[in-house]
C-alpha cells in the first residue's frame, strides 16, 4: 500500500459506515486513478472526501420526512447546549467569584493549564464534550450514552456529595442554589426530577419509530414535567440566563414533544442544559459588575446565534439532499 493509498483510506473514514461499505472501494479507486501521477497524496482529494463524508453524516441524521425541520431543531438544541456550557466553563474558571461561594464538592480543587477544575466539573465536561462530539458525528447511540452518563453524574452529585456549610438537607449545589435564592429551607430532591424524567424519556424513545398520538401525548406530558421541574429548580432566577431558560426551554420541550421527528438528538442536549444552567446562573449572579444592559445584549446575542444556527442547519439539510448508493 502506497502512502497515498493509506491516507486516502484514512480519509474514507469520514463517510458513514454503510456508505463506506457500499462505495468506499469505488471512491478510493477513483482517487488513486486521479492522482496516479503524483508522488504525494492530493490534499484537495482528501479535503473533498472528508467534506462529502461529513455532509452525508449530517444527512444520515436528518433523513426525510421533515429533514430540514429536524436538522434545525437538532442544531438549535446543540447550539443552546454549547453556548450554555461555554458560559458555565467561563463561570467555573472565574475562581475569584466562585471559589468562596461554592460548596466544597464543587469548588475548584485542581488547576490544569491555569483553569480551575473541580472533579464534578471534570465529569461534566467529559460527558458534555462526549455527547456533543457524538451528536456532531451523528453517533446517536454514543450521544445518548454520554447524555445518560451526564445525568448519572448529576444525580450522583446531588444525592451523594454532602458539602458542609449549607442548610440544604443533602448539602449540594442545588441546596446552594436554593439558599441563595430563598430563605426557605427546601429539599433539593426535585432538582433531580428533570434529569430522571429525561433519562426515562430517552430510554423509551424507540429507534426511528413514528410516534402515534399516544406517544406524542406522553412526550408532551414528559416535557411539561421537565419544564416544570426546571422551573421549580430555578425559581427566582433572573438575568440573561433566566430569560434564556424561560423562553427557550419550554419551546424546546414543546418542539421535541409535538414533532413527529426523532427527538433523541435534541433530548441528548438537555442534560447538558440542565447541568450547565445553574453554573451559568451562578456566574451571572456572582458577577456584580455585569450591568442589566449587558445581560440583555448577551441574551440577544445568544438568541440570535441559536436562530442562525437552526436556520443554517435547516437550510443545509434542505440544500444538501443526499443520494443513496446505486444498486448495480
Amino acid at each position: 500500500m502506497t502512502p497515498s493509498e493509506r491516507i486516502y483510506r484514512a480519509a474514507l473514514a469520514a463517510y458513514p459506515r454503510d456508505y463506506r461499505a457500499a462505495r468506499g472501494d469505488e471512491v478510493l479507486g477513483t482517487m488513486l486513478d486521479a492522482t496516479e501521477a503524483r508522488r504525494l497524496p492530493d490534499v484537495r482529494e482528501v479535503g473533498a472526501v472528508v467534506a462529502d463524508g461529513y455532509r452525508r453524516r449530517v444527512l444520515a441524521s436528518v433523513t426525510p420526512p421533515h429533514g430540514a425541520l429536524r436538522a434545525g431543531a437538532a442544531w438549535a438544541a446543540f447550539a443552546l447546549a454549547v453556548l450554555t456550557a461555554a458560559v458555565a466553563v467561563v463561570g467555573v474558571m472565574r475562581e475569584d467569584h466562585l471559589a468562596t461561594s461554592l460548596p466544597a464538592s464543587l469548588a475548584p480543587s485542581l488547576h490544569v493549564l491555569g483553569l480551575a477544575i473541580s472533579p464534578w466539573f471534570a465529569a461534566f465536561a467529559v460527558t458534555s464534550i462526549g455527547a456533543l462530539v457524538a451528536l456532531v458525528t451523528s453517533a446517536r447511540r454514543a450521544a445518548i450514552a454520554f447524555a445518560q452518563a451526564g445525568v448519572a453524574v448529576q444525580v450522583w452529585e446531588v444525592a451523594f456529595r454532602p458539602a458542609a456549610g449549607f442548610p440544604g438537607a443533602h448539602g449540594d449545589f442545588a441546596a446552594y442554589a436554593w439558599t441563595n435564592v430563598s430563605t426557605l429551607p427546601r429539599e433539593p430532591w426535585h432538582w433531580v426530577v428533570p434529569s430522571l424524567v429525561l433519562a426515562a424519556c430517552i430510554a423509551v424513545s424507540g429507534p426511528r419509530r413514528t410516534p402515534g398520538i399516544g406517544l406524542r401525548i406522553a412526550r408532551l406530558v414528559v416535557s411539561l414535567v421537565l419544564v416544570a421541574g426546571l422551573a421549580l429548580a430555578m425559581d427566582h432566577l433572573y438575568g440573561a440566563v433566566a430569560g434564556l431558560a424561560i423562553v427557550l426551554l419550554p419551546l424546546l420541550a414543546a418542539a421535541v414533544a409535538l414533532s413527529p421527528l426523532d427527538p433523541r438528538p435534541a433530548l441528548a442536549c438537555v442534560p447538558l442544559l440542565v447541568t450547565a444552567l445553574p453554573l451559568t446562573w451562578t456566574y451571572v449572579q456572582a458577577d456584580p459588575t455585569t450591568p442589566a444592559a449587558g445581560d440583555l445584549t448577551v441574551l440577544a446575542g445568544i438568541l440570535l446565534g441559536i436562530v442562525a444556527f437552526a436556520v443554517a442547519g435547516a437550510a443545509s439539510a434542505h440544500r444538501l439532499r443526499g443520494g443513496t448508493p446505486p444498486q448495480s
Binding site: 469505488e26 471512491v27 484537495r44 473533498a48 462529502d52 443520494g323 444498486q327
Partner: protein, 104 residues
C-alpha cells in the same frame, strides 16, 4: 445547476464512463478548467442518480480497483440540454451588447 454537475452530465453525453473517466472527460471538455475531485464527483453523482438524471451501468475491476460505470438517462439529456440553452441565452444577452454588428 452547479458547474461540476453540468460537466458531469456533459461528459456522459458521449457514452458510459467510470468515475475517473468522468473526471478526465470533464477536464478535457472544459479545457482543463473544471477539476473535479472524487469527493465532489460522488456527491454530484448520487444527487443525479436520485433525480433520475444518471444511472449506474455495470462495474468491473481493473488492476485491483473497482470501477463502476454511469450513463446519462433520457431525462438527464433533457435537463442538461435545457441548462445549455439557458446558458446560451444568458451569454447572448452580453454578446449582443458587446458586438451588436457581429452577433446580429
Amino acid at each position: 445547476m452547479r458547474e461540476p454537475t453540468y460537466f458531469v452530465l456533459a461528459a456522459l453525453l458521449d457514452g458510459r464512463l467510470h468515475g475517473y473517466g468522468i473526471i478526465k472527460r470533464a477536464a478535457e471538455l472544459s479545457g482543463g478548467r473544471v477539476r473535479i475531485t472524487a469527493g465532489t464527483l460522488y456527491g454530484a453523482i448520487d444527487r443525479l442518480i436520485e433525480r433520475g438524471l444518471v444511472a449506474p451501468d455495470g462495474e468491473e475491476i481493473v488492476s485491483g480497483r473497482l470501477r463502476r460505470y454511469y450513463r446519462i438517462t433520457g431525462e438527464g439529456e433533457r435537463v442538461v440540454g435545457e441548462e445549455a440553452a439557458r446558458l446560451r441565452a444568458a451569454a447572448e444577452v452580453v454578446v449582443h451588447r458587446l458586438r451588436p454588428a457581429e452577433a446580429s
